[in-house]
């Protein structure tokens, strides 16, 4: 376990919560639009540092019970983001330790030029498709 104040290192994994309709039992498994920033994500899309959690499912703690079961959890290596020219910045929240954002994938830049982010979303989804830690209830496991 790491403290969220510890430096983020390239050998770490980041967790991303993926809504159920962006996960399938087919190939491709994860939709690139699992990485679309919301309008409010001006500081970048959210991830959680796996090293800061006892269990990846802890990342679902902030959600109401009826929403929790509808999320998948995927993981991506920090090194992948670095290879794509993306950075990871701590953005602590009270509910879950290890919350971080990827500032380059922010809502302002995304809205201005979605095409620029399409290959990035695609690559993140390709890797995430092989790194599913938890599936939404109602879908089959790998």
């Amino acid at each position: 376990m790491k403290a969220e104040t510890d430096l983020i290192t390239d050998d770490e994994w980041l967790l991303r919560l993926v809504w159920e309709d962006r996960v399938t039992d087919r190939v491709p498994t994860i939709s690139p639009n699992a990485f679309e920033p919301r309008k409010g994500e001006i500081d970048g899309i959210s991830f959680y540092r796996r090293a800061c959690l006892n269990d990846p499912a802890d990342a679902l703690t902030p959600f109401a019970a009826d929403k929790r079961s509808r999320y998948a959890i995927v993981q991506l290596p920090v090194s992948l983001l670095a290879a794509l020219g993306l950075s990871v910045r701590p953005a602590p929240i009270a509910a879950v330790p290890g919350h971080v954002v990827v500032p380059e994938i922010n809502s302002t830049d995304y809205a201005a030029n979605k095409a620029r982010f399409t290959p990035i979303k695609l690559r993140l989804a390709e890797v995430a498709s092989g790194q599913i830690l938890h599936r939404p209830r109602g879908t089959t496991s790998d």
Binding site: D21, R38, T118
Partner: protein, 144 residues
């Protein structure tokens, strides 16, 4: 990474706007047919998923996602029906974007394509060919 603009073909109810290379969309065209898809998936599945988007309310994901506007769902359904009619394969994903749009995705050997309904008469398309780090852009405008 940069974006380029290219024609989109295959959606007979839609055409390109005047600010991109203009020609009627070809029924035999290749908006998606190179992409391939899961054989088990049908257009009926896609249209059912699109219809279900009408049931979404704001904050449907618990993280503040916007419900899609009914007019954008209609755009996506019309596009899906048009593509089905021209023999194109069904979309691999038919989903609400987190900002109120509606998105169709195709994944296959010819690359990744997404079409996003963003206005009642318009959809934006993006194509990433295999191995490319650039998305090609196209716009579909509904014929009046």
């Amino acid at each position: 990474m940069t974006a380029t603009t290219r024609p989109a073909r295959g959606a007979s109810a839609y055409t390109e706007p005047d600010d991109t290379p203009t020609r009627p969309l070809d029924e035999r065209g290749l908006l998606v047919s190179e992409a391939g898809t899961s054989p088990a998936r049908t257009w009926a599945d896609v249209i059912d998923e699109l219809l279900a988007l009408h049931n979404l309310a704001d904050d449907w994901d618990g993280q503040g996602a916007e419900a899609p506007h009914p007019a954008l769902v209609h755009v996506a359904i019309t596009l899906a029906q048009s593509l089905r009619g021209s023999g194109q394969p069904p979309a691999d994903f038919a989903i609400a974007g987190v900002n109120g749009t509606v998105i169709l995705e195709w994944h296959g050997p010819a690359g990744y394509r997404e079409v996003e309904a963003t206005a009642p008469d318009r959809a934006e398309g993006r194509l990433v060919r295999p191995g490319s780090e650039v998305a090609e852009v196209f716009t579909l405008v509904r014929r009046s």
